[in-house]
């Protein structure tokens, strides 16, 4: 690029992301001046419409926030309500929730790895074009997604907006034999996921390192999905109920989704890379070896390599689901009783795209007085913009079309779920 020129890179409608967004990068005289990821999908007001509803209804209302990761929303909400009511679900019910969550990781990661992300690395505009040359790969992705959906619908009634979750547990739990039906498909899926890891590891990855700290749940004995402390690569380790003391959401004019920052105004990243970097020892030994074999080990700070980490997590989710199915002993009751009390409850789980935080204040009558939901894509917006800024600054010599295409990839590295992230900040007018 000639010095002194102004250049604007615009992508008016991002393809291969969940939801509707655009991005804008302004370059002046060889310097990146401004980067905006614009999420123009309208806000959806879920937090407002939860107010005034019974605390038991939240689990089904929030399932509607996302068709890809509804179980994550249901689990963060159920946990928060159980926390408010001072109830803990029994170990088998926790195991069953984790099983469905594994299904959701498999279907969500398979969709992103194969249909949305892989075409970027192989130089195709879409999975449809990629399927002409790599039909066996796309077939593998569809099969993996199908098994993820099967795990969900088998236990939770259906894979999109499941119907079997409730505060305190489930409406119905499956018998031993019923879950055994999943063993065959899960074994097959595990093999396909291992193939996926090897396949994506051969992709060309640009040299790129991001600087933001990562934040994920951390658990002393397992790879975190449903529980753990909130930890960061900067050394933070806090209880879930302290989330609001350390992180804030701010509104920016160019996006309908709030941006999350640390209290002192710094961005942070969530999702597969964050989980992987903070919880590598929680992965089974064989999976750690596979990660070493394909050359992706912590610290991994290259967001383009998230496709490898997502694939490793798919293997993990298949193996964990198999373990849970084989160990399944149905409890006598599908749920523990929950009586509302006046309290605030907190929940945080690892959605496929990163930590999903819920907070609810309920009254003694069980009516929700306040709701707060912080989805992963809100938290990842600022790191996406930081990545765009750094990537464009380092690649101004690329032809315009290629640079624009690369910018889209930088966003897709995060598997952003824009529909989940759009909600509205309450307006406070200070007339003092």
């Amino acid at each position: 690029m000639r010095p002194g020129r102004t250049r604007t890179i615009k992508v008016d409608a991002l393809a291969r992301v969940e939801g509707e967004g655009a991005l804008r990068v302004r370059v002046r005289a060889g310097r990146v001046e401004e980067v905006q990821l614009r999420i123009y999908e309208p806000p959806r007001f879920f937090e407002a419409l939860l107010r005034g509803r019974d605390f038991r209804e939240a689990v089904d209302i929030v399932a509607r926030i996302c068709g890809i990761c509804p179980w994550a929303y249901q689990m963060s909400a159920a946990q928060a309500m159980e926390d408010a009511c001072g109830v803990e679900v029994s170990a088998p019910l926790r195991a069953l929730r984790r099983l469905v969550y594994c299904g959701e990781w498999i279907e969500s990661h398979a969709l992103h790895v194969y249909l949305l992300h892989a075409p970027d690395f192989l130089g195709y505009d879409s999975a449809v074009d990629m399927a002409r040359d790599h039909p066996e790969a796309v077939q593998r992705g569809l099969e993996l997604k199908k098994v993820g959906n099967l795990v969900m619908s088998h236990v939770a009634g259906r894979s999109v907006h499941p119907v079997n979750a409730r505060v305190g547990g489930f409406y119905r739990v499956p018998g031993r034999e019923e879950l055994r039906d999943l063993v065959g498909p899960l074994r097959r899926a595990r093999d396909l996921a291992v193939e996926t890891v090897r396949w994506v590891s051969t992709f060309p990855f640009p040299d790129f390192e991001q600087q933001v700290p990562y934040v994920a749940l951390r658990h002393p004995t397992e790879y975190p999905i449903l529980e753990g402390k909130i930890a960061s690569t900067d050394g933070l380790e806090i209880e879930v109920q302290d989330y609001d003391r350390h992180f804030v959401e701010v509104q920016v004019p160019h996006s309908n989704a709030l941006h999350s920052l640390t209290r002192d105004g710094r961005p942070y990243g969530v999702g597969p890379l964050a989980r992987f970097n903070l919880n590598f020892p929680g992965l089974p030994e064989a999976l750690q070896s596979l990660a070493r074999e394909v050359g992706t080990i912590p610290p991994c700070r290259n967001p383009f390599r998230s496709i490898v980490v997502r694939s490793l997590e798919m293997v993990y989710a298949c193996e964990e689901a198999l373990r849970l199915v084989e160990a399944w002993e149905p409890p006598a009751e599908p749920a523990v009783p929950v009586v509302p009390r006046e309290a605030t409850g907190y929940g945080c789980t690892e959605a496929p795209r990163g930590i999903l935080y819920h907070r609810y204040r309920i009254g003694a009558d069980g009516i929700i007085q306040e709701a707060r939901i912080v989805p992963p894509t809100s938290q990842n917006q600022r790191p996406m913009e930081e990545d765009l800024r750094a990537f464009v600054q380092g690649h101004l010599d690329l032809p315009r079309d290629e640079l624009t295409w690369r910018c889209e990839q930088v966003v897709r590295n995060y598997d952003p779920c824009i529909s989940c992230a759009t909600h509205f900040l309450r307006l406070e007018v200070d007339e003092g």
Partner: protein, 161 residues
């Protein structure tokens, strides 16, 4: 011969629901052995139509015609024309799913798309009146085509119509 009718659409997005309504209206005129399904997004179609010989997908469309205009597009051999865009709120659109199926060898022997031109797809609204009139027309055309191919017996493997 196994026949499937799939309506695609979202009930809470105005005319986007037209495919669902056409599928419902056609069901009444069709024999019981014709399967009728309704889905919100086309992404699951490859699995849904597995094992069927003839599949009719009904979706909301934007092709430049007056609202309620019915398009009939045989995509067994050729992609959906670029001039007619089907409306999809999320993920893979109908045209992409059809082409994905073609690349993977997962298309039924006969695949026909019925599109109905939309007027408005706003959140929380019902069908507009112009499009409601199109529902009847599309359902009649669709059900008579299916009754005809069922009557054709063995000749149904031919893809022309």
């Amino acid at each position: 011969m196994k026949v499937l009718v799939v309506g695609v659409g979202n009930r809470d997005r105005g005319d986007d629901a037209v495919g669902l309504h056409v599928a419902e209206a056609a069901r009444a005129a069709l024999p019981e052995n014709v399967a009728v399904r309704q889905v919100t997004a086309p992404v699951g179609l490859l699995e849904l139509w597995e094992g069927y010989d003839a599949v009719y997908v009904v979706d909301a469309a934007m092709g430049g015609g007056a609202p309620g205009t019915v398009y009939r597009l045989d995509v067994t051999e050729v992609p959906l024309p670029a001039s007619v865009r089907t409306v999809s709120t999320h993920g893979l659109g109908l045209a992409q799913v059809v082409e994905l199926g073609r690349s993977l060898g997962r298309l039924p022997r006969r695949l026909v798309v019925y599109g109905v031109e939309v007027a408005a797809v706003d959140l929380g609204f019902a069908l507009t009146s112009a499009v409601r009139a199109g529902v009847e027309r599309a359902a009649r055309q669709l059900s008579s085509e299916i009754l005809e191919i069922l009557g054709e017996g063995r000749e149904c493997t031919s893809t022309g119509s």
